[in-house]
Amino acid sequence: MAIIETRALAKTYGKIQAVRGIDLSIEKGEIFGLLGPNGAGKTTTIGMLCTIVRPTSGRASIAGYDIVKEPAEVRRNVGIVFQDLTLDTILTGFENLELHARLYGIPSVIRKARIQEMLELVDLKNRAHDIARTYSGGMRRRLELVRGLLHRPAVLFLDEPTLGLDPQTRARIWDYIKKMAKNEGITVVLTTHYMEEAEHVCDRVGIIDYGRIITLGTPEELKDSLGGYMVVMRVNDPPLDSIQDLPYVSGVKLNDGMVEITMKEAHLHLPDLLSRIRNVESVETRAPTLNDVFIKLTGRDIREEYTEDTGDWIESAVRYRQRGN
């Protein structure tokens, strides 16, 4: 049986249908990415699976426990890293983990060793006894990651674990996530809108839009579904029809004077393609990305949607600073 099973899971707030029926089955040990724009229902879905949000209808179970009927068992089996930073900045890093260990009833004989192990995992051992308000954003994130792991949950939920961090720190956080998942052998469910990053980390992704999962598969499967590589050419008077008829071409589009060709196995067929077209001024090939998948399915670019709505994060960062002074 899968470690996470949902059946028609839905949540309605007043008249707004935040999540409109999600069917998912996530296997033990998977790193699963829930991708989608802001307001798509990612956080609500995770909230329901963590028993913070009560579903309006549908069912879900984690490690065999029903999220509505057995919330205490579910909570014991999940770790959560929230989108907002939720560390206690008056406590030290070590004390933050100690508080968590006590709340989850980790026996005192193994508590200290477990905390040390976790601090080591994210290279925070030498800062363990500093007050958390002196930590950088990346360090706080790392501490939150292992806090979620401390009680050895079966499933770790990460809601936008890299939001608000600079690209370098983001890359490191992903490395830590992969390392943690491997070390602890747990299932990770994460949400992110950084499509390129999700591609490198996730074994499988589901793209969610308007409260529904619109596609599901490995990053490769989803990208392959677009029909292969993109070849972009600048050509005088392109013979669009004859290009379209080639067996390895799955799509041709004229865009801004550039010919965009989608084709399979570009490395094999490109020479043949070029031999059939005269007056090629420039050629560029590009592997499809998950963002291309998103655009294809929704007609929108996820990155554009995101730039408008980061207010939430900025606000929480400001609040964080206020207490930290």
């Binding site: 028993t51 508080l99 968590h100 006590r102 009833g105």
Partner: protein, 254 residues
Amino acid sequence: MHEGRFKKELQGIYAVWWREFKIFQREKSRVVASVVQPLLWLFLFGSGVGASFSVGGVSYRDYIYPGILSMSVLFGSVFFGLYIIWDRKIDVLKAILVAPVSRVSIFFGKVLGGCTDITIQVLILFIFSFLFPSINLWGIPLALLILLITSIALVSLGLAIGSLFESLEGFQLVSTFVVFPLFFLSGALFPVDDRLPVWLQGAVGLNPLTYTVDGVRYALLGLNTFPLYVDIGVIVFFAILMILMGSALFSRMK
């Protein structure tokens, strides 16, 4: 199985208390302020007014000592509870609320944490009691017990109100419309007897803090308006009511 769950809840209560106590240890400036402020009342206000008045054969400064202790418990407890608004605003509470510990246990952990802080503050204030010649030092344990029960009630009240508010503006409102009226109507600064206007007598009689002040004043000075059992009875009843209300509101908090 049932016993295991009970133990886990106790561990949860302890964990929340532990966090509050760590923070208390770290925020020493808060403790200093909470001890110095009552001392200012006693020595500046008490000595000033005491130059012209005495009550029941006791100097005014000594007379208000029990009242100022009660005030210190009132302010400290209610604001400790209200601090939950801030905890929620900066999201530290989120991580605690998703732990496999019931809301009621988190509530009790908070109440115990608040009472610990307040008890330590009161004990520090008791150290100064030798400066007040009329105080009966043997009455301190009884006074402490009354103040502790009051603190349980008032931290619960603070948490109850705090779980209703989402913004920090709540602080000012509660301060003006709850805390100060409770203080002024408690007889902390004046004797509760027939000389008071009737409307004031009524309001003072309805204020649970009046019975705290009366009980503590009886313990430390031997002066009282109501019998001790009435004082303790009212305070215990008030505490039970506030615990029930506080834990219910806290459990429903979003």
